[in-house]
Symmetry: C2
Subunit: 234 residues, 2 copies
């Protein structure tokens, strides 16, 4: 998060309110989080989440989206509010309440365009994070815990994969987030029985072993299941 701008040519920002994004992706079966190095302000030279201020005339969800787009160049990622963090001491020198969001993305999909307040961005293994600025470390921790719960009940895992994926890739997403090993045969059966996957009738290419079938997520069936509530445990 950058220090607050006092430049009056910029849009009017809400005082004492910010947004911070926990951007997550999977790389080589490991859950990674995007960190930014700030080139100005209180956090100059330090690493933190991708945050910024909320304009008086934009919804908070848009603020999160705008900040992400500014730094990553992408605006169609899965983005959801987590919750607000509002301890008095969380931000030095000034009272700032922040609203944390999390995004699930595919690290391979786009090139980062560090700009604005972040001079560099870097993917880091969530298990090997350095200390982040302010309370960002605890925000990440809370989001990860939330995600472990969420993935058991909603098929958010698909946002971390390409449109067409193999069952093993999907399993690796679950394993990365839940931090456990799963039984392959049982995982297959369970996920297939949900009817959330459509067989692409297509095989993997360029692998040095038997090619796996490719599947894609069936959004229509998903919407129906949502209304009835369903179980997603492994």
């Amino acid at each position: 998060m950058d220090k607050k701008s006092n430049d009056s040519s910029k849009p009017h920002m809400i005082e004492a309110l910010s947004v911070d994004n926990v951007v997550l992706g999977i790389e080589n079966g490991r859950l990674m989080v995007l960190t930014a190095k700030y080139n100005a302000g209180l956090a100059q030279g330090q690493w933190g989440l991708l945050g910024g201020w909320v304009s008086y005339d934009e919804p908070i969800d848009n603020a999160a989206k705008r900040i992400l787009k500014m730094i990553t160049g992408v605006d169609d990622m899965y983005l959801e509010q987590f919750r607000a963090f509002g301890d008095v001491q969380r931000y030095p020198a000034e009272r700032v309440v922040t609203i944390a969001y999390y995004a699930l993305v595919r690290p391979d999909l786009y090139k980062m365009m560090p700009g604005g307040t972040a001079s560099h961005v870097e993917w880091r293994d969530v298990h090997k994070l350095p200390t982040l600025i302010y309370d960002h470390s605890s925000i990440v921790k809370a989001v990860l815990s939330h995600l472990k719960n969420k993935i058991r009940h909603e098929p958010i895992g698909f946002n971390l994969l390409p449109e067409k994926f193999t069952l093993l890739q999907l399993q690796e997403v679950y394993e990365a987030i839940l931090d456990v090993k799963l039984d392959k045969p049982n995982f297959r059966r369970k996920i297939l029985k949900m009817n959330l996957l459509i067989d692409c009738e297509e095989k993997q290419k360029g692998v040095m072993h038997r090619a796996a079938s490719l599947y894609r997520f069936d959004m229509v069936v998903y919407q129906k299941l949502c209304e009835h509530g369903f179980n997603f445990e492994f």
Copy 2:
């Protein structure tokens, strides 16, 4: 939520940020929400949630607690943050982002002491709510939906009951929140098998039928289960 105070004798409040509480309780097997009638400000004469402003020198959680205590006189209720609501138009005349909290309480436990900004408070059936001010109706709706999910995975239902309760009372909590009928024998078995209940070795009194056993919630077992993750579906 009251109109912002400009009285400089009061503590300095954060601009554009408020807190709103969805206070829930069970009465006669029906899920009720506490509403307040405001006696001043933009919302004068109208019904809404129990809200207020956040002071510069208090954590947001404390703000929610303080406002609840001011209006209800109670400060030991189960209170948890839900999430922020930050549409530009949600509050008329001014940009205000609000952080919604929900509380689970026993309506019978205490007398309301309407004071401060709320001239009256009233319990209302969540299925028969009038239109509330601002976006409070949609906040209630979102909290109820959240609660339906949450009660399936965490034993929050106990917060709505007296310390000692019967299995049927507990079942009624689940039925009120989930808005379904449950099978009594199966509910008993499932809940007992979780080992979350301690038999008080005591019977109900003053009922005109066979007296039921009283149970209480086992916090210690609960803490252990939390760490391992467990299922609470019905």
